[in-house]
Amino acid sequence: MSVIYLVLPLALLVVGAAVAAFAWAARRGQFDDLDTPALRVLHEDHIPPRSKRSGTDAGD
């Protein structure tokens, strides 16, 4: 059973990574609008990307 002393911290590290990913997504505004992206995905063509790199996000 001693392997659990190693596995448990590892599992918590994975959880930590998941939480960090969630925090990143929430801070980037991924959960701000849950309706429109579902419609946008139906459009086949793509809008030309912004000429300058969009470093700032709408809500930050």
Binding site: Y5, L8, V19, T36, R40, I47, R50, K52
Partner: protein, 820 residues
């Protein structure tokens, strides 16, 4: 999105000229075959033709394949949107980003499906210089970024308007950033608390399994306990900090808030668990702590979201109100300026149908002014050179040139709004049932903990402390804290789907017990506009009347249009409007006159008489002979009398509080069945406010004010529950707790019924949670509680409350018999 918001654009749709089999190539409405577009596709109007050609040129015709519904016909409003580039506008709505790009949020009319998203987001293709356009379809909110060197906001606004999406600046933009940050933070807290709760519970599961069998290895158990301790500390110090902050704020304000017992229980459980971990014996409660933080945060998030939705909807409605004035320059050209840039001395042009932008005096023009929203008067007043006019009133007939005397904060409407704010601040908040109970709850739990300690002390001092702490933990008011927010959130969400926007759950309690209900007359009990109530004359005259009145904005014209919506009319020529009198013109070679009897007589019409019934009389003359007579009045809404009766049956004391003429108010009171003494007419905004305040002090029951105008706004803000009805002024909307998004008083009945049902669910929830707590108290005092029982009892009570709130019927069905 509530129906109220998306409905506005459809209202503009007007009856079109002679219909043909072929539809407009853009919107599908009947298109008139005209010489201009004979070769190509047909259009119903120039607006649609422009939108069609813009899409063709930009290669965006895919729009017509994507759309699910036909687009709303494009009405060219001829606006240049100059005010969108004014410094006053920019400082209020436009942000500059670090890379120099400008950023704005616009509320867009006419958005309804995926094709709209597609088209609006192709804006960078249509207009070079636009860097990004993104549309939130659920809120009709577009985020646009552009390069100020290559294009400007008026050009963007014109482009959107040409496509059939008139843009408006989003009024809530300042609060939006704060809110978005709060939303993300709340979501983050839930995510962290959830991850921790699941892991602590996994550890707890392992320990319970060991505990139920022959016991776990001591060192392994110690290891699990320490890991749980560290995780619980993380959840309390991170996401759970909000409860301690809330409790501390309550202590400092010397009030009892539900955060207080929650913080107490979380703190006690964690402290006891930590001590037991360190001394390595006795129960730890870490699983309960972690799960509690998670569940409570979810409850709080749901509550916040429900309030957010209604706040959003009313802000979007507010964004629709005009915010530009047409200012005449010294060189006689006109320019659109934002309202905030108006100064005394400026000359503004007020077109028919426009809202007067400032207080001032008419210099030129002859028209009628509808001040129903400002004063409650139901009849338009004549306005000529020299007549003072007030901001917030509506110009109904001809163009007026007005000299601004007072603008912005100095106007009469601003003064009224100031009073609205004052009375809203002065209003005593309703202490909701759950918070009232929290006080008793804390006292009783603390008392019982002391009693437990006292009883057990003589037998077993160490055990006594354990039992007292177990009691504190097991009675943690998780379910009690969720009982009200959950029920209210579910009810508010369902009400919104029925077009009733409820802001803040506390009004639900005020509406659940019948008290005094004050109703405004104009616009609330009545339609607030003229309706054709009488027509004496042959059928064939009607198209002639409509030909003259089709494009006019006068109330009489609007009443004719509304009375015969599907009728097609020939074209009229030489149309001449005489403000305050009538209109003359030539239709199919015959001279037609529609106007007041006095006007008809002055034009030498034969056979003029007034129709028998009361109301505003109108004479129709063809070739100088009076052929038809029409009567107009501000009629009662169809459901007013029945609704008032039902409200009285429910136990409400229904009264009328109106700014209109006393005689008119008394006549309406008689019709809907309100006693003469309970109908107050000629009340100024101040008098309305005083009446509400007097009643709130005199009666110990709730006072509800229902109204639509600026003149009602202060009274609405001062009432226990203020309700704004469909089509009301922005001010009444801003001060009201509830907005009825459908016309008539039927939604009001649904609201009171729904409020009663919601309160029933809240009481049931509280009863549930108190039963669980009583059970817990009994077990703890008997010394029978152990961590497993605590861990089962608490989530089960929360989940019961959650399910009961979700399945409880609040606004699900319309009340029996009240359906239209």
């Amino acid at each position: 999105m509530p129906a109220a918001v998306t409905e506005a654009p459809h209202r503009q749709r007007e009856t079109l000229g002679s219909a043909s089999r072929t539809g407009c190539a853009h919107c599908g409405l009947p298109a008139a075959p005209r010489s201009r577009h004979e070769a190509g596709p047909l259009f119903c109007c120039d607006g649609c033709a422009t939108a069609f050609s813009v899409l063709q040129e930009a290669g965006l015709t895919q729009y017509y394949e994507l759309r699910e519904r036909r687009p709303v016909a494009v009405r060219l409003n001829g606006r240049r949107y100059d005010e969108f580039a004014h410094p006053a506008f920019e400082s209020q709505y436009v942000q500059t980003q670090p890379d120099g790009a400008r950023h704005v949020e616009l509320f867009i009319e006419g958005v309804h499906c995926a094709a709209c998203v597609w088209l609006v987001e192709r804006l960078p293709l249509l207009l070079p210089g636009v860097l990004r356009a993104e549309l939130q379809v659920s809120r009709s909110l577009a985020t646009v970024e552009w390069d100020p060197a290559r294009t400007d906001l008026p050009a963007i606004a014109r482009a959107l308007s040409t496509l059939g999406y008139p843009p408006h600046p989003f009024r809530g933009v300042k609060r939006e950033a704060i809110r978005r940050a709060a939303d993300r933070a709340a979501l983050l807290r839930i995510g962290v608390a959830g991850a921790i709760a699941v892991n602590v519970m996994l550890a707890a599961l392992a320990m319970y399994s060991g505990w139920l069998h022959d016991g776990m290895e001591r060192s392994l158990e110690r290891y699990f306990r320490w890991i749980s301790l560290v995780l619980s500390l993380a959840t309390l110090a991170g996401p759970g900090r909000v409860f301690f902050a809330g409790a501390w704020a309550a202590v400092r304000a010397r009030t009892l808030h539900l955060d207080l017992p929650i913080a107490l229980a979380l703190g006690a459980a964690f402290a006891r668990g930590s001590i037991n971990t360190i001394v390595d014996r006795g129960p730890v409660y870490f699983d309960a702590v972690a799960l509690l933080v998670f569940l409570l945060l979810i409850g709080r998030y749901l509550q916040q979201r429900g309030q957010r939705l209604t706040a959003d909807a009313s802000e979007l409605l507010a964004s629709l109100t005009p915010n530009a004035a047409l200012v005449r320059q010294p060189d006689d050209s006109t320019r659109e300026l934002p309202l905030s840039a108006l100064l005394p001395g400026m000359i503004v042009v007020v077109r028919p149908g426009d809202t007067v932008p400032a207080d001032g005096v008419v210099l030129e023009g002859d028209s009628s002014i509808d001040s129903a929203l400002l004063t409650g008067e139901s009849r338009p007043q004549r306005a000529m050179a020299g007549t003072p006019v007030f901001a917030g009133t509506i110009n109904v007939a001809g163009t007026l040139i007005v000299r601004v005397d007072r603008a912005g904060e100095a106007t009469r409407v601003a003064e009224i709004l100031h009073r609205v704010e004052e009375s809203a601040n002065r209003r005593a908040p309703i202490v909701i049932l759950a918070n009232r109970m929290a006080g008793y709850f804390v006292a009783i739990v603390l008392l019982l903990a002391l009693v437990t300690l006292g009883i057990w002390w003589s037998h077993d001092p160490a055990g006594a402390v354990d039992h007292a702490i177990a009691l504190l933990i097991v009675t943690c008011p998780c379910a009690l804290a969720m009982a009200t927010p959950l029920a209210v959130t579910v009810a508010v969400g369902r009400a919104a789907r029925r077009g009733i926007l409820v802001r803040g759950g506390d009004v639900i309690e005020a509406l659940a017990t019948p008290g005094t209900l004050l109703l405004d007359k104009t616009g609330t009990l009545t339609h607030g506009k003229l309706t054709l109530i009488q027509w004496e004359g042959p059928e064939w005259v009607k198209p002639f009347v409509l030909a003259l009145e089709r494009d006019a904005r006068h109330p009489v014209a609007a009443a004719f249009q509304a009375a015969w919506p599907d009728m097609t009319a020939p074209n009229a020529v030489d149309v001449c409007h005489v403000p305050g009198a009538g209109v003359v013109g030539s239709v199919a070679g015959r001279a037609v006159l529609v106007g007041s009897p006095a006007f008809a007589a002055s034009r030498g019409v034969e056979g003029v008489r007034s129709p028998a019934d009361a109301g505003t009389p109108v004479v129709v003359a063809i070739d100088g002979v009076a052929t038809a007579f029409a009567g107009f009045a501000d009629t009662l809404r169809g459901d007013s009398a029945a609704s008032v009766q039902r409200l009285r049956a429910e136990g409400w004391c229904v009264r009328i509080l109106s700014g209109d003429d006393r005689a008119v108010v008394e006549r309406v009171a008689r019709t809907v069945g309100v006693a003469r003494d309970d109908a107050i007419g000629g009340a100024s905004p101040e008098a309305k406010l005083h009446e509400v305040e007097r009643l709130r002090i005199a009666a110990r029951e709730p006072v509800v004010m229902v109204g639509d105008g600026v003149n009602d706004a202060a009274a609405i803000a001062a009432a226990s529950a203020g309700i704004a009805v469909h089509g009301g002024a922005e001010a009444s909307l801003a001060s009201a707790d509830v907005y009825l998004g459908r016309p008539g008083l039927t939604p009001l009945l649904e609201l009171t019924e729904g409020a009663r049902r919601t309160m029933r669910i809240i009481r049931r929830n509280i009863a549930f949670s108190l039963t669980y707590n009583a059970l817990g108290v009994f077990l703890a005092m008997a010394g029978l509680i152990n961590p497993l029982i605590a861990a089962i009892l608490m989530p089960v009570s929360s989940i019961t409350v959650l399910l009961a709130s979700w399945y409880g019927r609040s606004f699900e069905r319309a009340p029996a018999g009240a359906r239209q």
